[in-house]
Symmetry: D2
Subunit: 456 residues, 4 copies
C-alpha cells in the first residue's frame, strides 16, 4: 500500500485487485458453486437461489474480511461467515458446500487474471498501434545504428519501431495463450479429492466452470502452481519487453542525442531547471518493469509447496500475483503514453549520422573496396583512413575521396554511394513489412503467423 | 566453474554448454552462412567450400578463444581469426561475410537451446513415467491429506502422484512450445539491417536456416530478447515444478512420517549416524531448483537492452542462460532419480492415517450428520467431540459411536462408514484417470488435450 | 495497494510509509532547510519562519500530490506548489531554495527509515524475549535433533530456542549499525554541487542535519545508493532469519510431530475441518519473508544509476524500499505472535525421541564402543544392530543390551547411559548461556559482545 | 562451469573456489580439528599427528570427491574416506572425530571467504586509487551534470570521480566488517551439541579456531545462515556500486558524448566496424554485476532452513556463495581495468557544456535574477527566454544579454558570470576534499571516518 502505487500501475488494473473486487470474485464463486451443486442435485435449488441472492448484495464488509483473515489465515472464513449471515432459510446450511477456502480464492484469482489480461492486451495493442504508425512513417528516416552505445552503421527509425512492434506482437500472442491456460476453475475441497461431493464432483466442476465462463482444469491445482507461475513469468517477459522500448526512449531523449522526446504538453518539466524536459513516462516504465520483474522469482520460488496446501508459499502469491500484474500494467501504460505523442526529430537523426564524420560508413567503404581489392587489404586501408580521420577530426568521406588507393579501386560515384546511408539499408524494408503484416494478423486472429514461419 | 557444479546438473547438459560445444555451434553457423551465401550468389562457391571445410576441423584452441574474448568483449573475434587462419585460398576473404559477432553467438545459442530442450524433455518424460506408474499402482493406497502440514482429509498416494504427473505433462507441452519458438536463426549484420548483403538478405537468411534446421524469425532479435527470456522463464516454472515434487519427497521421507523413501542402495547414508537415510536426490533437486530460479530474473532484467546491441545486459546472458539450463536439468535429473526407486510404505501411510485417532474423518462425520440434522448443529457436535477426544487422547470414532446425539441421527453402520477413509475419496479415480490419459496423449502428440478442455 | 497488505505487515509500519507520512517527511525537510538557510544567512529569517509555519499545516492534499507526480515524475513538484501557495509574504520566493526534488524525497526517506528501524527493533526485541524465555525454560527438555528432516542425535528445545535467540541478537546489532548509517540528510541541489547555495553549502547541510536530528553524509548520494541498498540487504537477512524460525515452527506444529503449536485462542481454526489447528502466524511470516527477500535484488539492481540522477532505477526505490520494510516487519511481527503463546509439548518431544526406537542413540553407542574396540569395528557393529532393529521394528537399546559383542565391551550401565539422551548433550548448556548473555548485553549496549569473540 | 566464466571473474578468485582449494580447506579443518582435540586430551597426540600429516598430502582425488558427493549428498564423506585411507596407524580411528560433514564444509567456507574478501579488497583499493587520482586531477574540469540523462547544471569530472571514490571507501569498510564477522569456525557435531566431545566442546572449539586463525562464534550456525547471507548481501551492494561506476563509464564513452574512453591499447576493437571503440571492460563489469546480484536472493531465500540442517537450502549455498564472490570480483576487476587507463577528454566535456547553448546555465541566470526581482518573476523570464532560444536554436546567453528585463536587473558582467560554469560549482571542492580524506583514512585504519560524521 505504497503512496506511490499509482505511479507504477493503472487505475483499472488497481481496481481488478482491490479488496472489493477480490471479495466480488469470491462471491461469484460461491454463487456459481451453489447453482452448479443445485443443478447436480447436491443441494436444494431453493438453497442455491438464496445463496446466489446473498452473493449479489453489496453490503459485505470488505475491510473486516481482510482484517479477520489474520486470525484464520484466510479471508474466506470471515467471508463465508458474512455470507452465511446474509442467506435466508435453509440455504444457510449449504453455503460453501464441499469447497475449501482455497477453491474460492483460486477461482476468484482465475477470474481476476482474466480481466487483468484483457486490460493488458488492450493497452498493449495501443502500444502496437503507435509502433506500427512509427514503423511505417519512418521507414526511410535514417539514423545512427548503435551497438554498445557506439555508432555502428545506419539504420532507420522505422526499423527500430518495427523491432519494437514485433516484440509487442509476440507478447500479444503469449498473453493470449497463457490467458487461456489460467482461465480455469479451482475446485477440490478439503484436500483435493472433492470427497464431500461424493460422485457429483465431475458434474459440479463442469457446472461451476460453465457458470463462470471458465474452463475445467485437468486436476485441482491447490499445490501445483505452474499456471500461476507461468502467468507471472509471461508478465515478467512482457515487462522486460517494455523496459527495452523504454530504454531506447530514454536514450533517444538524452540531451546529447535528442532524436525523440515525449511531446505531451506539460510532461516532464523541472522546477529548478526550466530548460529540462524529462522523459517521465519512459522513466516510470523502467521503474515499473523493474518492480514487476522483481516479483517473478517470488512466484516461481513459491512453487515449492508442501503436500496438499502450502504453509507460506501459497500465501505469498496473494500479494505477489497482484503486484506483478499491477507493475506490468504500469510499464505497458507508461510506454503507451510515451509513444503516443512521440516527437521524432528526423533532422537531428540525420545530423547525428553526419556528426560521425563519415566514420559510420566505414563498413560500407570497406565492403565496396573488398569487392575490388580483397577484404584484408580493404579493411587495412579503411582502418588507416578512419583512425587518421578521427585523430585529425576530419571527414572520412573526404579522406576516402582523396586517397590514391581508394581512387584506384573505386570511381568517385562509387565512393559517394558508399557514404550515402540511404543506400545502405539492406533488408530494412522487408523487416518493416514483416513486422507490420504480423501485427495486423493479430487483429484477424490468424493462426499461422510470420513469427515462427518454417524456414524456406 | 564451481567444484560442485556436477551436483546440480547432468553431464549431458554440461556438455551442451561447454566451451568446445559453443565453439562448434559458432563454427556450424559460419559454415552454414558461407554455404547459404554461396547459394544466394553472394560469395564464390569455392570460398564457401573452403570455409565449411575449415569449420569442420577439430584443432581450434577453445581456451584461447574465450581467453581473448576479454580483449574484444566477444569470443567471436578470436574465433573468426582462428577460422580465417585455417581457410585456404580466397575463402579467407569471405569468412563471417556480412555477419556480426552476435549473429554467430545467438545462432549457436539457438542450436544449443534446441539440444538442451531435447535433453530436458527426455529426462522429464522419465519423471512422468515414474509418476504414471505410481499413480496407477497406488490409486487406492489411502494416506493423510495434509494442508499447511496439518492432517486434513484422506487422499490416495495415487492422487498425489497423479498431480505430479499432470504438472509434468503440462511442462512437457510448455517445453515443446518454447523449444520451437527459440529455434530460429539470428542474422542481422552490424546493426540489424543486413546491409552488407544488399538485396540478398532474405535469401541468405532462409538458406542459413535451412542449412541448420532452424526457423526464420520475423526479424533479427539482437536487442529484443523475449525469446531467450521466455526460455528462461519456462525453465524457471519447470524448476519450480520439480521443487514441488521434491518438497513432497523430502517431507514423505521425514523421520516422523516415513511414507516414502529413496530406495536406491547406498544413497544417503550418513557417516556419523548409521540409522540415517538422507533423501539425497530430493535435497539436491531442491537446491538445483533454487539455483535455476535465481537466474530467471537476471535474464528478464537483462531485456532492457540499449538500441541495437546492449552493453552488459546481453553479455550477462552468456553466463545466465547456460546456468538456468544446467540447474533446471539438475532439478529434473534428481527428481527422476528420486522417483525411480521410490520405496512407498503403504502400511505406514495407513498407520499415519489411523494415528490421527479418527480426527481426520471429522469432516465426513460432520457431512453425514449434516444430512440429518443440518450443518450448523452437525458441526457443533463434531467440534465438541473432536476437541474432547483430542484433549483426552481418545479416538473420535469411538466417541462418535458412543455419543447419544450421533446415535440418534446415524446408524452404527453409517458411523463406521464415515470413519472409513476408502469410502471418502470423491473424484480420486476420475482425476487419476485424467492425469494418465493426458500424459499418454503426449506420446501421441495429440493436439487436443484434457489439460485445457473447454467447460462442459 | 493489495487488499492483503495487512496480512504481511503491521499497522505501525504501514503508517510510516503512508502517503500522509511521506508528505510530512518532505515538509519536515522543507521546514528544516528554510531554517538552516536562514541561520546561514542564505534566506531571510522571516521567510524561513513563514515557510516552516506553512509546513506545519495539516491541509495538504496528499492524494493530489501523488496523482500529479505522474505528470512531473516526482511528488515534490506538486508538493512544493501546494506549499508555496500556503506560505505568506516573501517567504514564497524561498521555498525549496537551492534544493532539488530528490533532496526532499531522500531526506524524508532517511527520516522514515529511522522510524521504521525503531519499529522493527522493538518487535524484534520482543521476539528475542520469547526466545530467551524458551531457551532458559527448556534447557533440559530433550527432543529429536533433525538434519535433512531425519532424526540425528538428541538436542534440547532450549538449544533450538537459543540458536533462534543468537540469530535475533545478531540481527539487532546489524539493524543498529545500518540504522545509523542511513540516518543522514541528502542535500545536493540540481546536480549535486549545491551551487545555488554558493559558499554556504557546508553550513546549510550541517544546519539541516541538526534540525532533523540526522547526520551529515560524506557527500550527496543522489546516484550512489549503497546506503539504501545496504538497508534493504540487512532487512533481507533479517527476513531470512525470521523465515528460519518460522520454518521450524511450521515443522514443529506438523500433525506427525506436534511438539509446539501456537496457543493463541481462536488462531488457525479451519472451517471445514474442526480438528485442524493451522500455524497461521508462522505461515504468514514465511510468506512475508518471501515477499521481503524478493524486493532486495530490485533495490540492489537499481544501484546502476545514470550520472547525477537515474531514469528509472531511483524511481523504483520509491515503491521497493517501503515494500521491503513493510514485509520484513510482517515477518517479524508474525514470528513474534507465534512465539508469544507457543505451547511446547515436552512430553511429545520425548515421545518422538523414544519413537525412534533407540536409533537416534546409535552415535552414542558407537562412541562408547569405539573407546573400547576402536571406531571401525564399533561402527560396523552398530550399523548391523541398527539395520536389523529397523528391519524388525525392534528397539536398538534392547538389541544392544543383548548383543554379545556389546556386552563384552560395555557394562549394562554403560549401555543404558549410551541410550539416555539427557546424558548426551555436550555443550548444550554452554551454548544456551552464551546466547542468553549475548542477548542481555544488547540491553546494556555493551560494545564488546560474545558474538565475535576473539579466539582463545 | 560456463565457458565464459573467465569473462565475469578473475583467475585468483576462481582459484579460491576451485575444487582443489575447497578440498584443501576441508583438509585444513580436519588437521586443525585433530590437533585441537589432541591438545584438549580428546584424542591421542600421535593420532592427531598422523591425521595432520595425511591432510598435508597432495594426492587426494578431487574429482572423485565431488563425483561421489552425489551419492552421499556431501563431498565430506568421500573426502573423509580418502583421508582415512591415508592415515597411518590408530590415527585412522580418530579422523573427523566428533565432527559432522557440515563442520568441515562450513569452516572451509569461512577460510575461503577470508581469502576472497582479501582479494576483493586489494582490487577495490586499486579502483579507489584510480578514482582518487581522477578526482584530484579533474577537480576543475567542468562538464555537464546530467539528471535523467538530461543536462541539468555544470559539475566537474573530479566531483563525479569523488562520488565514485566515496562509494568505494564505504564499501571497503563494509567488506572489512563483514569479513571479520564471517571469519569464525563451525563446529557443532551431528546436530549442533558437540555431544561426541563430552565436556571438551569449548576447549576444542577454541583450539580449532586458534589453529586456523579464525574466531569462535557465539553458537554453531549450521542452520542459522545470517553470516553467510550478510556476506552475499554486502557483495551484492558492492556489485551494485561497481555497476553504478560502469554505467557512468559506458555513458561517458557513448558516441554522442565521448567524454571518457578506455585507453587500453587493443581493447574493444570491432571486426566489422573499424571506427568503433567498445567500452569492453565497463560492459563486462555491468554483466558481472547483474550476475552477482542475481545470486543474492538465492542465498537470502536459502536462510529458511529446517531444524538442525536443511534439505536443499544449505546445499544451494555451495554453488551460490562461490558464484556471488566470483561475479563480484569480476565486476570489481573490470571497473579497475576500465579506470586504469581512462582517457578523459576535458575539451569534449567543455564542448558538450557549450553545446547546450547556454540552457544548462538557466538555473544560474534564474538565481541571479531572483536576487533582484524575486523568484517567480525571474523564473518566468528565464523559462520564456529558454524556450524561445530552444525553439529558434539560438544561445540563451545571447538572448539574456539582449533581453530588456534582464538588462534592467543585471549588469553585463553579472550576466556573463551567470553563464560561466566554473563560477557555479558550489561545494564541489569541499566534497572532493572530503572524499579524498576519507579514502586516505582507510589506509591508516582510522576508526573515526568522515563518512558518518555526527552533524555539526
Amino acid at each position: 500500500m505504497e503512496a506511490t502505487d499509482a505511479l507504477f500501475s493503472t487505475p483499472a488494473m488497481m481496481d481488478v485487485w482491490s479488496g472489493a473486487a477480490r471479495v466480488r470474485g469470491m462471491l461469484a464463486f460461491e454463487a456459481a458453486l451453489a447453482r452448479a451443486e443445485a443443478r447436480a442435485g447436491v443441494i436444494p435449488t431453493a438453497a442455491a437461489e438464496a445463496i446466489a441472492a446473498a452473493c449479489g448484495r453489496d453490503d459485505f464488509d470488505v475491510t473486516a474480511i481482510f482484517h479477520e483473515a489474520a486470525e484464520s489465515g484466510t479471508p474466506v472464513i470471515p467471508l463465508v461467515r458474512q455470507l452465511t449471515a446474509r442467506v435466508a432459510g435453509e440455504g444457510r446450511d449449504y453455503v460453501h458446500w464441499g469447497a475449501t477456502s482455497q477453491d474460492a480464492l483460486d477461482t476468484a484469482l482465475a477470474l481476476a487474471m482474466g480481466q487483468a489480461f484483457d486490460l493488458l492486451a488492450r493497452d498493449l495493442m495501443d502500444v502496437g498501434e503507435s509502433c506500427a504508425r512509427l514503423a511505417d512513417r519512418h521507414r526511410r528516416t535514417v539514423m545512427v545504428g548503435r551497438t554498445l552505445l557506439q555508432p555502428a552503421v545506419p539504420i532507420t527509425f522505422g526499423l527500430k519501431a518495427a523491432r519494437w512492434l514485433a516484440l509487442v506482437t509476440r507478447q500479444m500472442r503469449r498473453l493470449r495463450e497463457v490467458g487461456e491456460r489460467v482461465a480455469v476453475v479451482q475446485l477440490g475441497g478439503a484436500a483435493g479429492t472433492l470427497a464431500a461431493l461424493g460422485v457429483a464432483g465431475q458434474a459440479v466442476t463442469a457446472g461451476l466452470a460453465e457458470e463462470l465462463g471458465l474452463g475445467v482444469p485437468d486436476l485441482p491445482w491447490h499445490a501445483e502452481r505452474d499456471r500461476v507461475a507461468e502467468a507471472a513469468a509471461v508478465l515478467g517477459v512482457l515487462a522486460g519487453g517494455m523496459a527495452k522500448i523504454a530504454t531506447d526512449l530514454v536514450l533517444l531523449a538524452q540531451g546529447e542525442v535528442g532524436e525523440a522526446t515525449d511531446g505531451t504538453p506539460g510532461k516532464g518539466a523541472s522546477s529548478a531547471m526550466p530548460q529540462k524536459r524529462n522523459p517521465v513516462d519512459a522513466t516510470l516504465a523502467l521503474a515499473a518493469a523493474r518492480l514487476a520483474i522483481g516479483v517473478v522469482p517470488v512466484v516461481l520460488g513459491a512453487m515449492a509447496q508442501e503436500h496438499e496446501r502450502a504453509a507460506g508459499a501459497w500465501q505469498a502469491e496473494w500479494e505477489a500475483v497482484p503486484a506483478v500484474f499491477r507493475h506490468t500494467a504500469g510499464a505497458v501504460a507508461h510506454v503507451r503514453a510515451s509513444l503516443r505523442n512521440l516527437d521524432v526529430d528526423a533532422a537531428r537523426m540525420r545530423a547525428n549520422l553526419d556528426a560521425t564524420n563519415g566514420a559510420i560508413m566505414a563498413e560500407t567503404l570497406a565492403l565496396a573496396l573488398s569487392a575490388r581489392i580483397g577484404s584484408p587489404e580493404a579493411r587495412a586501408i579503411v582502418r588507416e583512413l578512419a583512425s587518421s580521420a578521427r585523430a585529425r577530426g576530419t571527414n572520412l568521406h573526404e579522406a576516402a575521396r582523396n586517397d590514391e588507393r581508394v581512387r584506384a579501386a573505386l570511381s568517385a560515384d562509387a565512393v559517394d554511394r558508399a557514404f550515402d546511408p540511404t543506400m545502405y539499408l539492406g533488408s530494412n524494408d522487408w523487416y518493416i513489412d514483416r513486422a507490420l503484416a504480423d501485427y495486423r494478423a493479430l487483429h484477424e486472429d490468424e493462426a499461422p503467423s510470420a513469427e515462427e514461419m518454417p524456414n524456406a
